[in-house]
Amino acid sequence: MNSMIDIRHLSKHYNRHKAVDEVSLTVSAGEVFGFLGPNGAGKTTTIRMVAGALAPTSGEIFLGGLNLAKNPRDAKSLVGYIPDRPFLYEKLSAWEFLEFLADLHATPKKDLQSRGPAMLELFELIDWRDELIENFSHGMKQRLIMAGALLPKPRILVVDEPIVGLDPRGAKLVMDIFRHLAERENVAILVSTHTMSLASRLCDRIGIIYKGRLKAVGTEGELKAGAGEDGGLEDIFLKLTDGATPQTLEGVFS
């Protein structure tokens, strides 16, 4: 399969702390790859490096065959990035923000005029198109970021915790959109999450990261087989990430 994201021996060190340690993985066109891990495991750091928002200490990232470090401009033009926290320019309106992103990604004006309103409609923001972002709720900002990320028709989507701050309707919409993009538009999607149901329903393959290292990669079935677990994804996750068991809880609270 055509590999759109190719991460090779990626590491990020903060002084002596290894936030990400020798992570390698690939995501093909049309595939949704789920990045699972507990808090502080290195998911966001990896995602930010793939999006080009953070420089790695070592290792290489290829996006659509382009080396991100050597050809950042062209490589980044393939990517739509959705961070976990919706920090936006508060003094712009929703439409102005889309205009800004369209210019930033050199999206033709006619594409903005046709896709922009459709995106706002899709994310239920059309009534708010001329409102300043400072008046938006957390969920609305998150939806606006998604609309902006999808506007330039990215070939790769890099998403950090996509359903945090969204209501169940919004969360379902996002999952439907991601599946549609992967299956119909052949978009490669790298998504980090610690929501098991999301990973289970959305992802073709899953990677479990813990303390900066990739502990296991495969389909849900492959992970179950590898871990020797009969339970769900949550049990595999807890086993691979040394999660607290009822026995540990007993020890702490008794």
């Binding site: 903060y14 712009l92 930033l104 990604h105 409102e131």
Partner: protein
């Protein structure tokens, strides 16, 4: 605080003083950690900032001593003037404090990020009020107190005061400043009940700036420097005589003067110094108690109102759309995107554009000063003074350009705030991003500087050669100052700041002011010599070859400084932005 209000605010599980200290603890520990673990380069920074503060204090002290000594040369009126001046100082101090407390109260009581956590905690509203109040008071009062300190020491020095004066001054300052601060806090609770907190802060910020501009212009137009000349005291005497009415019993600034003046050798007023001091302390305590009652009734409803958010505001932008269309014809899309975004966010943020009013007032006062300065009327030294003032004008213009670049170009990188991730992940180079910021701010700063140098020289009636030389130096120096600002702004960004106007007061701003001052002085000194030589001898054809070479070398050295001022910081800034992820990540994590 009333039981009813506490009940509305939620249960109070902890006793008041316990809650108070618990709420203050994170800030105290944070401060202690900064001192104990200063981080990389922290000690050097602290040392530099300390030295700089000491120099500023020394300069303020020397200036105050000079002003007071000048006043005292007039036998009878000197004392009266000095006493009046002290009253004005207190009024200026408490006015400044009241405005800054009002604005910081709006942030601290209603907009701070940790309020969600605090309000949900099992502590009484009373504890929250007193803890926030103490923090706001200290944060707002330290600046006026720091500036008043050297002036009051100067009073002690000039009047040869005893040690008791130095003990009394802080005892007088604390209740006066605290009382003013409490009043402002009460006003903030009333204000937020009328307006949304964010809107109130913006409006108050704007009013503060307009008020300051009007006061400043009025002060300049009164030409207070004339009072420093004893010859003018005859006319001043009539003015003072009209003011020499009994001191107002309702003006706490006068109470402060009455409490201190006997220790500077003056006669006690209607009451003893101790009585005035007791009046100050009891009034401050009464205001504090009253404010706590106002808080009991108004803080909780006001806080809830502040959470309702601003009313929906539609954005109309025909002018912006026109500008966008025009820029679209001239620029690549990604550059246009940043420029249009910066234009919109600047003009929609009152805390940003309102500072242009301040700039306009300063420019008007600056040019007015030169327009009233007629050097031709002087019997001797006209030529020398003309050149000296032309150079002074050039120096002051460089200072204005540096200040503007510091306020706007330096903060332009930090202005991206937490949205900086959009730039980092966008398909554009950080080099392009930095140069866009440079070209965004260079034209306005350049035009203002050129206008100031031109009109300054016009009013001074400076020689043509000096005028051309000053214009060329300004034209070359300003891009350097702007590049230095953007470069250092990228080297020392502050993406997590809540108030962009505070960014220049940090370490990066200090480095900028020191570097820009040294560079400006060097460039002006290097170019002044060739210009003056040219005027003195009436043309370069009369110079020897060696002198011509020396002059050309000086001009080239000045040009090299201007070039390096632009290129080097931009390179270093780009490197820091590219590599500076660790600090930024920590910033974001902390938030």
């Amino acid at each position: 605080m009333s039981r009813a209000a506490t009940a509305v605010a939620g249960p109070s599980a902890k006793p008041f003083m316990g809650g108070f200290w618990v709420l203050l603890r994170p800030h105290l520990i944070g401060l202690a950690n900064i001192v104990r673990r200063p981080g990389k380069g922290g000690r050097t920074r602290a040392l530099l900032v300390g030295l700089f503060s000491l120099v500023v204090w020394l300069l303020v002290f020397l200036f105050a001593v000079r002003v007071l000594q000048n006043m005292m040369t007039a036998d009878v009126l000197g004392g009266v003037l000095a006493r009046r001046f002290m009253g004005l100082l207190w009024i200026a101090g408490i006015s400044l404090l009241m405005f800054s407390t009002l604005i910081s109260s709006l942030s601290s009581f209603f907009l701070a990020r940790d309020l969600d956590l605090i309000m949900a905690a099992p502590v009484s509203l009373e504890s929250i009020f007193w803890a926030r109040s103490a923090r706001t008071l200290v944060a707002s009062a330290w600046m006026p107190a720091a500036f008043l300190l050297p002036v009051f020491v100067a009073y002690g020095y000039v009047f040869k005061a005893s040690a008791i004066y130095y003990l009394m001054a802080p005892l007088v300052a604390v209740p006066l400043l605290a009382g003013a601060g409490f009043l402002s806090q009460a006003a903030s609770f009333l204000l937020v009940n009328l307006l949304p907190a964010r809107r109130a802060r913006e409006i108050m910020g704007l009013l503060a700036i307009i008020g300051f501009c009007l006061l400043y212009l009025a002060f300049r137009l009164m030409r207070p420097e004339d009072l420093l000349s004893p010859d003018n005291f005859v006319s001043a005497a009539a003015y003072l005589a009209s003011l020499n009415s009994p001191t107002s019993l309702f003006n706490p600034a006068e109470w402060a003067v009455e409490a201190l003046w006997p220790y500077l050798g003056g006669h006690p007023g209607q009451m003893s110094s101790a009585a005035w001091l007791a009046l100050l302390w009891s009034t401050a305590a009464a205001i504090a108690v009253l404010t706590s009652y106002v808080a009991a009734f108004l803080y909780w409803p006001a806080y809830n109102k502040s959470l309702e958010g601003a009313a929906r505001r539609r954005v109309a932008g025909p002018v912006m759309r026109l500008a966008a269309g025009f820029l679209g014809l001239m620029m690549k899309p990604e550059r246009r995107a940043i420029v249009i975004k910066d234009l919109k966010t600047f003009f929609r943020d009152q805390t940003q554009w309102s500072q242009l009013l301040l700039l306009a007032a300063l420019m008007a006062a600056y040019l007015y000063n030169f327009s009233i300065l007629n050097l031709r009327l002087l019997p001797v030294g006209g030529d020398f003074l003309e050149r000296a003032f032309a150079l002074l004008n050039l120096g002051l213009v460089a200072l204005v350009a540096a200040t503007l670049a510091l306020r706007f170009a330096f903060t332009s990188i930090s202005s991206e705030g937490f949205s900086y991730w959009i730039i980092k992940s966008a398909p554009m180079s950080l080099r392009d991003f930095m140069w866009i910021k440079f070209w965004f701010w260079l034209p306005p700063i350049w035009v203002v500087s050129m206008a100031l140098v031109f009109f300054g020289n016009y009013y001074l009636g400076t020689n043509k050669t000096m005028q051309i030389s000053a214009a060329v130096v300004t034209a070359a120096l300003v891009p350097g100052l702007c590049g230095l600002a953007v470069g250092l702004g990228a080297r020392f960004p502050s993406f997590s700041t809540e108030n962009l106007a505070q960014t220049p007061t940090g370490y990066g701003g200090l480095i900028y002011m020191v570097t820009s001052s040294l560079a400006s002085i060097s460039v002006i000194a290097l170019t002044a010599w060739p210009s003056i030589t040219l005027i003195n001898i009436g043309g370069y054809h009369r110079l020897s070859a060696s002198r011509i070479i020396l002059n050309v070398a000086m001009i080239l050295a000045a040009a090299l400084i201007c070039r390096q001022l632009l290129v080097m910081p931009m390179r270093q800034g780009l490197k820091a932005l590219t590599e500076g992820d660790e600090e930024r990540r920590e910033d974001e994590e902390n938030v």
